[in-house]
Symmetry: C2
Subunit: 138 residues, 2 copies
DNA sequence: AAAATTCATGCAACTTAAGTGCATTAAACA
DNA sequence: TGTTTAATGCACTTAAGTTGCATGAATTTT
């Protein structure tokens, strides 16, 4: 059985053709993608199907959504090694304002923040903006 | 002359009726508001005018836009004491997933992050999510 | 002060992304 | 095989953001 097929099944996602293709598509990139990016990579499939596919992935912990401030949702594969759902979201993201790429800095965790009395933190989102390694020395 | 009128003029914004009202509206809140929130607070004005007004404020450093992950842009007044434009954006924001309020934690700055070689940071956005002080002890 | 210019406002329309309803098709299971 | 459950595709809707253009108000120039 295919490797990707295994991953999907482990996460309780039925391995249909579209899903296998989308997983491969995401895996072969190292940047987060919008639904439009995905759409451009697939000739056949309908936009709605792709939308629902990525949402299915998200619900089952295969991808996480990233809000980089551009106003358009992006998605990136979770680390396959991760067991804890919440640890995924606690890494930070870098958004290059030049090439518009957004990447996961998975080994950069968000530092702890002390909040005022009464505030309970359940999740955090940190996006750094600037020039990525490809765009900084141009 | 009105106090608000002075503030606008200092920032090179002509103090029209709509602008004075919107400034007062924002000042009397302690949460960030969406364009819809603003619209609800004004019977008379047109949506476009309010949109352009808040964008004018933003351009002239009177407000900053906050992206709290809800998908809708929010705005909050800058600290009037600030001289540096960039220091405004470096405080962090808290978004309550219960009441949907988003507030500026102006005296909580974003800690420094060491990035890999080649990355240049120009801006950062940190949003903590969870329960605010009003919603946590319910 | 009148004319000219610049800026603000209001209305309509457009764009883009996100999301839903429903019928059809495919897969899984009893 | 027949039944049920899930996935897909098409059409349509919603919501936020944004622009074009004509009108109205304010500021500047003559």
């Amino acid at each position: 059985m295919d490797e990707i097929e295994k991953v999907l099944k482990i996460h309780n996602v039925r391995p249909t053709a579209t899903r296998l293709l989308m997983y491969k598509f995401l895996r072969d990139l190292n940047v987060a993608v919008t639904l439009n990016d995905i759409e451009s990579g697939f000739d056949k499939s309908d936009r709605t199907t792709l939308y629902r596919t990525i949402k299915t992935f998200e619900k089952h912990g295969l991808v996480h959504q990233i809000d980089d401030g551009t106003g358009v949702a992006k998605y990136a594969l979770d680390e396959p090694t991760s067991t804890d759902i919440n640890s995924q979201s606690l890494h930070l993201h870098f958004h290059c304002t030049n090439c518009n790429d957004t990447i996961c800095l998975t080994d950069h965790k968000i530092p702890h923040i002390n909040l005022p009395e009464g505030f309970i933190t359940r999740d955090m989102n940190l996006v750094l903006k600037g020039f990525c390694d490809k765009c900084s020395h141009v």
